[in-house]
């Protein structure tokens, strides 16, 4: 080893540090956090990260897990698949994380997860909703990918149920963006419509950063659509709402949970009012646990107008850490296969913000959220509230996982 000034400084620092903290045995448990903290998906990524930070902070204050503190290694994937791949490799090989949480974009998830699968390191996917995410490795004996977000095979039928059954619309248009997320969601919507014997009157595409939606909306209008079903992210969804205002053609928007993103609500303004979407969490203090979560979140991160940018992401981010911590504790180890085995057979229920997780996973089932858990949210007065008063009334009764819940599409790889 060449001895230069830099190594000397490092050595001095290391000596000083080890003198200050003599208990080197209790080094922290490293958990990777991956999400888009910048760009069009950032309101989800940042809210998720903040939820994660909040949970880690609480756990560390209470003494950590296995007597060790949790340490986060946060990385910004910028919603880019190739960044997600680099980060996965960095987290696994360089940072040597014990597990990872996060992933907002389905495309990034699908690209990055296989590295964790190969390294036998569990991932708690807490926001990405593509149906395929937990089924990518169905042909392998073990699957290290878990999820505590409402996947598209739940969301798409919910959206269709709301449009066709509850609100009795007959002619629906689908507008989806051209990303993995939008197009997989579009396929799920078409499948769910088919089960109701309905065919969309028109199915249109748009690109990220498109500034004009005239053609798409005119096609929907000409086809006589009574409602527009959407699968996209905030900024472009806002352009759809703005485009409707421009054309003077206003039909309800019902779509995936991204209609609750702050950058949709803010950029669409009055045009976005009334949009409805499935939500696993609405920013309302309906249980003591949710109340303390909201209060702590607002106190710690102080978001604009006391509105969490993406309440769903924050809540799911928070819960993902508690699920993981419970599994590490039960496994008594930070060994990947042992954590995975513990997750598949969690003995004690975990009280989260979204729900109380009682045996959330099994060897065959890696989805914590079932069709009975999400409710419909609606944009009202520039924030998301319960769309149905009866849902709000019973919100204090936590909806728990029901494997027999009807409404989900079956996922085939």
């Amino acid at each position: 080893m060449k001895f230069n000034r830099r190594t000397l400084t490092t050595l001095t620092l290391a000596t000083a540090l080890s003198a200050a903290f003599p208990v080197l045995a209790a080094e922290p448990i490293k958990i990777g956090v991956d999400g888009p903290f910048t760009g069009g998906s950032s309101s989800m990524g940042v809210s998720m990260r903040d939820g994660v930070r909040l949970a880690v902070d609480e756990i560390n204050k209470a003494g950590g897990v296995l007597g060790r503190q949790l340490a986060l290694v946060e990385r910004d994937d910028e919603s880019k698949n190739e960044r997600g791949v680099q980060i996965a490799q960095e987290l696994i090989n360089k940072e040597k994380v014990v597990a990872a949480v996060g992933y907002i974009n389905t495309g990034v998830s699908l690209a990055a997860h296989r590295f964790f699968q190969e390294a036998k390191i569990p991932v708690m996917n807490n926001v990405a909703t593509g149906s395929l995410v937990t089924h990518q490795f169905d042909d392998q004996p073990e699957n290290y990918i878990f999820r505590n977000a409402a996947h598209d095979s739940i969301q798409a039928p919910m959206i269709v149920e709301e449009a066709i059954t509850r609100r009795k619309y007959k002619k629906v248009a689908i507008l989806a963006d051209s990303t993995n997320y939008g197009q997989l969601g579009r396929a799920d919507l078409e499948k769910a419509l088919e089960l109701k014997g309905v065919k969309a009157v028109t199915v249109e595409k748009f690109n990220i950063k498109d500034v004009d939606m005239t053609a798409q909306l005119l096609k929907a209008k000409e086809a006589g659509a009574e409602v527009v079903l959407t699968y996209g992210i905030g900024p472009e969804l806002a352009q759809i709402a703005n485009g409707m205002t421009k054309l003077g053609w206003k039909v309800p928007m019902i779509g995936s949970w991204t209609l609750s993103m702050a950058n949709f609500i803010d950029n669409a303004g009055p045009g976005g009012e009334g949009a409805r979407m499935p939500q696993t969490f609405v920013q309302e203090p309906t249980t003591p646990k949710r109340q303390s979560f909201i209060i702590n979140y607002l106190k710690t991160f102080n978001p604009k107008n006391a509105r969490i940018d993406s309440p769903v992401s924050a809540a799911q981010g928070y819960d993902s850490i508690y699920l993981l911590a419970a599994a590490i504790k039960q496994a008594g180890s930070t060994d990947g296969p042992k954590i995975k085995a513990a997750l598949e057979d969690l003995k004690t229920p975990v009280e989260g913000v979204v729900t109380t997780y009682n045996k959330p996973f099994s060897a065959k089932d890696h989805e914590a959220i079932t069709a009975n858990i999400p409710v419909f949210g609606e944009v009202k007065g520039q924030k998301v509230v319960y769309a149905y008063a009866e849902d709000q009334k019973v919100a204090s009764q936590v909806r728990v996982k029901d494997v027999n819940a009807k409404g989900a599409l079956t996922v085939k790889k």
Binding site: T38, G39, G40, S42, S43, S178, E204, K205, F206, N207, K209, V211, D212, T214, A215, Q216, L218, K219, E222, G234, P235, A238, Q239, T245, K246, L247, G248, N263, D266, N267, G269
Partner: protein, 299 residues
């Protein structure tokens, strides 16, 4: 039957109007490419980023309580300074050593730097730019038009006219034209061609910054807004011809209408294709652009 025809007409009118509005957005950015090409045979590939900076500076000023109309001149001054900076740092050294491609890399690099700076200052989320005009649409010939869209068209045409008049009537403008015609001859005639080129960059970024605040209420504002728009504007500049003001406007309108009509009549999945096919055809058949020649005659 008549009813069907009239709704079909209405749709076409709506598509054409939206196409024109979209095309003028492209044209007003493409105009900036033309300005620098006219004096120095170089292009500012950071044009989209100049536009983005203008829009974000404008948004900050509006946030500070400055009136939209008062904010415009301030943003224009900012744009001019930014453009002069780009020329001094990125383009002049390349022109000096007669490098063929140096300016391409340096303007792209500066554009990326500006984008990164903007990401750090304003974040990377898309922000809403408050509209100075009412956001409810006007009805015109059976189609709907936003007041803001009319402002973009009027503002873009007014700006281009102002620059054209300046170039043709004022002594400074003639210096610009002379520099374009023959840089060395102009230099021998006592024109400070270096200054003229700096000036043209300032003017070009100024027009981009102005375009930024003009279109921001329609497009959402953010550090990444310039990338796609700058690229489409480049296509417009090629289609219309880099030497023709008229060509830029028509090129923009052609591309805009091609996008909206293809989206409606063909498929929204292919809406960007016809414009790019047109670009390829123009490059193959008439590399100077559809209206390239005409402008040379005018001068």
């Amino acid at each position: 039957m008549l009813a069907i025809v009239s709704t079909a007409m209405q749709i076409l009118t709506q598509l054409v109007f939206s196409g024109i509005a979209l095309g003028m957005i492209y044209a007003v950015i493409a105009f900036g490419y033309q300005l620098t090409f006219a004096t120095s045979d170089t292009l500012n590939f950071g044009q989209g980023d100049a536009l983005m900076l203008g829009a974000l500076v404008g948004l900050t000023l509006v946030g500070l309580g400055v009136n939209y109309w008062l904010m415009i001149p301030i943003v224009c001054i900012f744009g001019a300074v930014q453009g002069a900076f780009v020329e001094r740092i990125g383009v002049r050294p390349a022109i000096k050593i007669k490098s063929e491609f140096g300016w391409i890399m340096s303007t792209i690099a500066l554009g990326i730097i500006f984008k990164n700076v903007a990401e750090n200052v304003w974040g990377r989320d898309d922000l809403k730019f408050p509209s100075p005009l009412p956001e409810s649409p006007l009805h015109f010939l059976g189609a709907n038009v936003l007041p803001m869209e009319i402002l973009v068209v009027v503002g873009a045409v007014a700006m281009m006219l102002a620059v054209e008049v300046f170039n043709r009537k004022s002594i400074y403008g003639r210096a610009v034209v002379a520099t374009f015609n023959d840089r060395d001859a102009a230099k021998l005639m006592g024109i400070n061609t270096g200054l003229v080129i700096t000036f043209s960059y300032a003017l070009s970024s100024m027009s981009a910054a102005f375009a930024g605040v003009l279109i921001a209420p329609l497009t959402l504002t953010g550090a990444t807004m310039g990338a796609v728009l700058g690229l489409k504007a480049f296509a417009v500049a090629i289609i219309g011809g880099l030497t023709s003001g008229m060509g830029i406007i028509l090129g923009g309108i052609i591309l805009g209408i091609a996008e909206t009509t293809t989206g409606f009549y063909l498929s929204t999945g292919y809406k960007d294709v016809p414009g790019l096919v047109l670009l390829l055809i123009v490059l193959a058949v008439k590399p100077a652009g559809l209206f390239g020649k005409m402008a040379i005659k005018k001068v």
